[in-house]
């Protein structure tokens, strides 16, 4: 086709066309970087919130605090379409006091903190995928100003497979089939708990500290095995994770002669893409429990990050439109430069729409290639942004003490580059429309008279 043939040739040979290509590439690259970070913040925020929340949480109706933990009830929830894992839990408040280390005595009560206890069946909870191993800190990772943790040091704590073996060794038979075990990491018979990162930071509790947790219904001893940072201060200031049997003793929900063991509710994980509200309704119908989605419980934080991301998106779209003016200027110049050629083409029989097509094709290709290059450039820059910042300013771009995450808030979600590619191609085509139309209106007779 004539339009493609000549349009591509003009694009290749004219410097002005390269200018348009560069402008498009840089605009799309900048947009991809900005949206990659904005989406990354949303993702990190969502992961942090969902670390404390499951997709669905089924609890007794208001006024009741516990339900009998029966296999029938677990099955009812597990059989709901879309549910891929179910795990019981107990949530309760407790006072946590460290031991002084002298004569097995408790420390001064001024060291007592209010703990929000989350007792879980670790094996089931692992399947729930609630706690991201990246949120667990290495045992000695207590420095809030420390640089992001190296990947190999992440997840060495309590909720990982390492810890599962550990739990069996310290005498809690909550995990079946652990198989051959490595040598015990320590000989303490006391069960371990994972505490929010702010607790040791503010209370002087460290990994290995023995603590007592008590409620009005019971008290237990435990040892701090690891810390966890969700990034939400209110959570990290109070959260204490422990194995379900320990929580049942603390909350007086353990099995007795009169009743089976009880739990505070169930958490369920859904398959990707499943409508959480519909699944919640189905679980409610089957289990007679009160079910809420994670967004209903703690969705506001994520929603605020999403709103900021959307505002950035609006700004990026505005910038795309500004770039379109450059495309317009470049193609107007190109039409003026090639006026003689266009007159000759029209003179020897090219139709006006063919001449118009020359510039529309050139614009479409410039926008398409420029956007694709911008996409590639943006994605190439995203991973090196933080190291580059370190190198230039000797400090992290995303300080972990602000983000509470050793993970960089970067997303490679292709929806944003695809959006910019489509948008730039569309508006680029519109920008070339007027110059292209002018090109098609050239009077060939006048051009040929001028030439002769």
């Amino acid at each position: 086709m004539l339009a493609w043939y000549i349009g591509l040739r003009y694009l290749r040979r004219r410097r002005a066309a390269w200018l348009a290509l560069a402008a498009i590439t840089l605009t799309v690259a900048a947009s991809v970087v900005v949206m990659g970070i904005s989406q990354g913040f949303v993702d990190v925020m969502e992961r942090q919130v969902r670390a404390m929340e499951s997709d669905l949480t089924a609890e007794p109706s208001p006024g009741r605090y516990a339900v009998d933990d029966t296999s029938e009830r677990r099955r009812q929830i597990a059989e709901v379409p879309g549910v891929v894992a179910v795990g019981p839990f107990i949530q309760t408040w407790a006072l946590m006091t460290p031991r002084s280390g002298v004569g097995d005595k408790l420390a001064d009560s001024r060291y007592t903190v209010m703990a929000q206890v989350d007792a879980v069946d670790w094996a089931a909870d692992t399947r729930l995928g609630r706690v991201d191993p990246r949120m667990l800190h290495a045992a000695n990772e207590m420095d809030l100003n420390a640089p992001p943790m190296l990947p190999e040091r992440r997840g060495t704590g309590f909720l990982t497979p390492d810890w599962r073996d550990h739990t069996v060794l310290i005498g809690l038979s909550v995990i079946a089939g652990a198989g051959a075990l490595p040598p015990p990491p320590r000989s303490s018979p006391i069960p371990g708990v994972v505490v929010g990162r702010e607790i040791p930071y503010s209370q002087g509790i460290t990994v290995g500290t023995q603590v007592r947790l008590e409620t009005t219904t019971g008290k237990v001893r435990a040892e701090v095995s690891d810390t966890l940072a969700s990034g939400v201060y209110e959570i990290d200031r109070m959260a204490v994770f422990m194995p379900l049997p320990l929580g049942q003793r603390l909350a007086d929900m353990h099995a007795t002669d009169e009743r089976p063991a009880q739990v505070g509710g169930y958490r369920a994980r859904l398959a990707d893409g499943v409508d959480a509200r519909a699944a919640a309704a189905a679980v409610e119908e089957r289990s007679y429990l009160w079910v809420r989605t994670w967004r209903q419980r703690r969705g506001n934080l994520v929603a605020s990050a999403e709103q900021q991301r959307d505002l950035m998106l609006v700004q990026m779209i505005v910038i795309q439109f500004i770039t379109v003016f450059i495309v317009y200027a470049v193609f107007s110049t190109l039409v003026a430069e090639k006026r003689h050629d266009l007159g000759v083409l029209l003179g020897i029989g090219a139709r006006p729409r063919q001449v118009m097509g020359v510039f529309l094709v050139a614009s479409l290709v410039a926008c398409g290639i420029g956007s694709a290059l911008g996409w590639a450039l943006g994605w190439a820059v995203l991973p090196v942004l933080d190291p580059l910042w370190w190198w230039l300013f000797d400090k992290p771009l995303f300080p972990p003490e602000i983000f509470y995450s050793s993970e960089l808030p970067i997303s490679f979600d292709p929806q944003w580059p695809l959006l910019f590619l489509g948008l730039m191609s569309g508006v680029g085509l519109l920008a070339a429309l007027l110059p292209a139309w002018r090109a098609s209106r050239i009077d060939p007779a006048a051009i040929l008279r001028e030439a002769d």
Binding site: I6, R13, L345, G349, P352, Q354, L448, R449, A451
Partner: protein, 217 residues
């Protein structure tokens, strides 16, 4: 069938350029049109080439009146049936010699393989076989005009219009180019109308007419 023009008139506000002009050119015939500057030679050529719309009259080519055609049909007729050779060559500088010759085929969407073979044959025949892929900016005036001639003849037009085709060439080159133009056009049985001041062209033409007072004499 050739070209048959009758009653052609063309004017501008306050100025009548062509008046009731008649012209007939047989297939393979070469007609030279001479006239003083400003007598309307280029206007006549533009009307014959459907670049300008005549005010009145018929332009029959191959038995079909082209004058009343719509703009799109006129463009199509130009591409299919009329070849142009300009004094200033009017080659496209972004393309090499062969690519320039192939432009009409691309306009018409003709099969490229056959068109390329035809273009190569034309270029070989006029001695540009070794310069097919040369940047047209590096070609001499005579070579450029020969490329222009090949482009005009690629689609085997029924009518070849040439406006001072040797105007920018030295006498020796002009003679060569003119020979090639006449020979190729006759071989292809194209009706040829050449507008010129050049007496040599008039000698090579089958007929020479003079444009005066809006008519051909």
């Amino acid at each position: 069938m050739g070209l048959a023009v009758s009653g052609l008139a063309k004017g501008y506000p306050g100025l009548s350029v062509l008046r009731d002009l008649d012209l007939a050119v047989a297939d393979g015939e070469v007609v030279a049109i001479r006239g003083q500057s400003g007598t309307g030679k280029s206007t006549l050529l533009h009307c014959l080439g459907l670049l300008d719309r005549a005010d009145a009259g018929a332009i029959m080519l191959g038995g079909r009146d082209l004058a009343p055609l719509t703009a799109a049909a006129r463009a199509d007729a130009r591409a299919r049936h009329i070849g142009f050779v300009f004094q200033a060559f009017n080659l496209l500088l972004e393309f090499d010699a062969l690519e320039n010759v192939l432009i009409p085929a691309r306009i018409l969407g003709l099969p490229l393989a056959a068109a390329t073979a035809e273009a190569r044959a034309l270029l070989e025949r006029i001695g540009l076989g070794t310069r097919m892929h040369a940047d047209v900016r590096t070609l001499s005036g005579g070579e450029r005009q020969r490329v222009s001639l090949c482009r005009a003849l690629l689609t085997k037009p029924a009518l070849l219009l040439a406006d001072e085709p040797t105007g920018n060439l030295d006498p020796a080159t002009a003679k060569i180019v003119l020979d090639e133009l006449v020979t190729l056009a006759r071989d292809r049985k194209a009706s040829v109308v050449i507008v010129t001041h050049d007496g040599e062209i008039a000698k090579r033409a089958d007929r020479t007419l003079e444009l005066r007072e809006g008519r051909l004499w």
